[in-house]
């Protein structure tokens, strides 16, 4: 790390910082410029780098501390240069194939899910999505079917052979959802729920880690590190839009983050154009854009009758629109040397 001192720092103050760093095992070089003295600290095998940085920044004569290394390791592409491939019930995510996961926002009933599962499978989707536990911003909204929803998803898997992905909302649900799902999803609002991340890290199921809508890419990767440090490296990242000043769309889909996360980590990165836009009319354009940008997969909401959906109707594609989109996704995937 680099420690920049305020103008006028005394020799004693410089020495104080130097000693603190040396006590933690750092090699230190002091550069005295005309306007500032800076200390470069290298080499410590220090798990608590952030604490050291914070404690130095609390000194009144320290202007700022600039970290040199990234705050994640296990998930970084430096730690593992070759890209990870994660198996979701036998479907490999992170390879040549662009994997599409599709289905309704909420599991509403058995007929809805099985019809939807067949439709998305016919169109080329490889994994079925559906929510049994719904995080809703209003206490008066539909909260999901709970375990009954999980059973319905399992029945749809039996019927169609599609593995299933569904959300875990609460630490107390990890074991239960893990019994049914092939891929455990954490929602954007839970990316900073560190207790949940730890529980997922102790699960044996792969994890779909959605980016928090106000999380930087660095924070997203630190959340992935939480899961990894708890023992589970089967992590798929998913960009789903960030909160900005723009109100024309519900969130702003940040496709740059896909490219950045793929450069920084060895993990697959998917995109959810449905939650990002909140508008079914925009989903196809964004889905194609995501695939061309290099996303390893898509998470798309499909509902047989969006105007009757119990949640997220405005952003759900009808099955016909989804089938049409999949034909275009296939063409774009091939244009960049991948397949569907």
């Amino acid at each position: 790390m680099i420690v920049v001192l305020r103008p006028g720092a005394t020799d004693e103050q410089i020495e104080q910082v130097k000693q603190r760093l040396e006590q933690r095992g750092y090699g230190v070089h002091v550069s005295r410029g005309v306007a500032r003295t800076i200390l470069g600290a290298i080499g410590a095998l220090d798990q608590e780098k952030e604490l050291v940085a914070e404690s130095l920044e609390a000194l009144p004569f320290v202007e700022r501390v600039v970290p040199i290394l990234k705050p994640y390791k296990l998930v970084s592409s430096e730690a593992q240069p070759e890209r990870s491939r994660i198996s979701v019930g036998g479907v490999m995510v992170g390879g040549e194939q662009v994997v599409v996961m599709a289905g309704p926002c909420s599991v509403e009933n058995r007929e809805q899910i099985i019809a939807c599962a067949r439709a998305v499978k016919d169109a080329g989707a490889r994994v079925l999505r559906g929510g049994a536990f719904k995080p809703r911003t209003s206490p008066y909204d539909f909260q999901g079917l709970g375990e009954e929803g999980l059973q319905i998803l399992a029945a749809a898997r039996q019927e169609t052979g599609l593995p299933i992905v569904t959300e875990v909302r609460d630490v107390r649900q990890v074991a239960l959802v893990g019994q049914y799902a092939d891929l455990l999803q954490t929602g954007a609002r839970n990316m900073h729920n560190f207790d949940l991340l730890k529980e997922l890290g102790q699960s044996h199921k792969p994890v779909l880690l959605k980016r928090g809508f106000a999380a930087t890419v660095e924070e997203w990767l630190k959340a992935a590190e939480y899961v990894a440090a708890s023992g589970n490296l089967q992590i798929i990242l998913c960009e789903r839009g960030i909160r900005t000043f723009e109100t024309a769309t519900r969130f702003t889909l940040d496709l740059s983050a896909v490219a950045v996360a793929q450069a920084e980590t060895h993990l697959p990165v998917m995109v959810d154009p449905s939650h990002a836009s909140g508008d079914a009319r925009l989903v196809p354009s964004l889905a194609l854009g995501a695939v061309a940008t290099g996303a390893d997969g898509l998470l798309v909401e499909v509902h047989p009758a969006p105007e009757q959906a119990l949640s997220d109707g405005p952003q759900s594609l009808r099955p016909e629109a989804f089938a049409e989109l999949m034909a275009q996704v296939r063409a774009v995937a091939q244009a960049i040397g991948r397949c569907l």
Copy 2:
């Protein structure tokens, strides 16, 4: 609600929207303009307004649906025009007195807390803060002392008489923390943890609900409604900075939100200048600004030796600086007709 149809909507489409609304109990008026047809729907006692709005927006000939009423009720100033006063271990928040809650970020050991409690009490603080369960963005950071930390806080209360506020991070901790604390705090990263909000709603202790750093005021008040709808109306709101493009401060303190939340609800609203700025040098200015804006209280981090703190050192005031600040807080509170 107001439903705006797309240009060229047919008579059948207009009728379809009208009937859907009438079935839910709304009175409907259709206005046909040159460019748009709009439907005004009033009067339904409908818990599921958001679902109705969503299902209409999923219709391809509906341009948008504009809600008229706010999505919160129990906490609104329309439901209860007089301001609420919440007792925190006997200290009333929301009245004439500006209540300052102060202490270290993390409980580190018994001596630290008791010394700190005495210092902040002498300076005029009414409640002691301290974290036993710390939500840390890196898995390698100090995570708090857990129940031992709660016991230390209780000892400091016994010693000084100050009620204590501490954070609940996980649904599984609500009962435990409730045994020790006088005020249960939820962190900014948990404002959208709906299961936690429900558990807090079933607690008998008052709740300090921090605004999520990417939450609009409306979403914050919906989170308060979650707690209220689960049975607990002892809620104190706390603004602690939002995430913006600005990097000179860790977050951007949004004092307008204090004024808006006080106008929209009957709940007291506090301000946390320490987490907002992340910089002890800025805390005094922001604390004074918050009081003059009308905040009902302050949450301030104080640590006897910030450069040795296990968390948040850079934003912690030394006891002497805190005492100096409190003298100014007193003067500003009096200038606007309040007291400390």
Copy 3:
């Protein structure tokens, strides 16, 4: 527009709002709900809708005014459903072809530009870009060659046949730049420079209107309306990234805005992945994503030796990397039924 009154509005107050609207020529319908009275106003041919809305919102008993129509007309897809095609020195933007405009950030000297023009033309670019007047955030940075730069661009056009696009930074330069350029570009920082927009509206040259980095899509389209209302409908929009909390990229490219702007207006929409990311390593992914999303063209920075560029080196592609990218752009364009 819809006028929502505060709870408890009296009959006289309702009548006052009604009369004000009727005096401006609106037909008004009053709906009295239990919680709110709302007035729907339709039909006025009113250029000053925003003023009327503002003056009503200034009344203490009015809660808010909701506009129904969009604040732009001439550029809207309602006014002209078929998409516009704009000729840039004979190259048509807005049709089947995806038009790529490429070249260095700044014009540095004649050799640089002519070499660069040849390279980008060979790779498939249709228009040459280059800056003669540079808006720099630091007063100590290189400010551009001025008219000499324009002459060099004109020489490159003569040499290669490529039309040229260059930025106008100041109202006093419109006439001068108009003598040389085929397409007048306004920078993101000038999108709200209304005097400049008016001057461009009186020019006979087409205009490339970059989105302000803190402008909503609606504000961007209002800026286009400024140009159009001043007499010039030859407008090409260009998305170039918005400012958000994310710091991994210089700006956040908002590809949703491409789809929204194409739905709302009849104007072509291009994308600038170079300024959005600020990082040459990310440009290819974003360029492909933009084309698949449906952008009508790309604006790409190319420099023969980025490490010697006088501006924007880190985001400039070397000619070989640009040629490689163009092959992929061609494949993606074909995959969605367009050409290069």
Copy 4:
């Protein structure tokens, strides 16, 4: 500056960076860590630091360049530790007195301005504000009276003795407005209009530099440096709200920025609560918060009949409300050791 190389940088690459820096006059120290090699460069008297940093970042083996010094000098508190006091027609801004500038958004007619000037003077305002050239986001809105408006302002000054502040929107107006105004204001949308900044730098009148609503504090201070570097150090900064995701207020007033700007520069910093909130009901709270935070002055919109204003009615205070506010401002100013 600190140059961080990518992992695996070769000796030749390290040498290449070292030589480039030494050629520019920097002293260079190379630190080879296990994971990264970093170069510290100090001491060069280099006007073109940003260009050097950019050209190094364009090298593929350079990960990033971290600047050590701030990109502004003349306005910095390092260059001049004592705070500047700026005379506006004899009223000193930046001293003990909190200076309030008040008046209507637009100059509408002589009677309005003179009545308003008298009212704000009686309440304690020291400077009269009013717009003659209005930057409006819609081409169909009222654009201001132009020179006639300036003449009316001058008449109000003669009548009341209040100096006047008014906006310059366009480089071509600087000379004209300078003949009438005592303080030349640049609007938030022009903070990045570098040609205008240069013209203001060549003026002999003091400049009120509003922060751009999407500008970081650092960019704001760089804009001030533009004015200063062109020869004019009579600069007053003005915070007026930034654009965030929050929609409850028009902009988010960033009072932290006041404290940061006062620490970083020697310039006075004012606050405009009217444009920040866009809502007269919030203006008093924010005005008091600004004064307690340490602002050197306020810019407040006052209009005798806001519901008839030709612009910004909803955010304008009536004269009586302004007088009431001023009594509170006086009390808060005294509480922190200042006066009105």
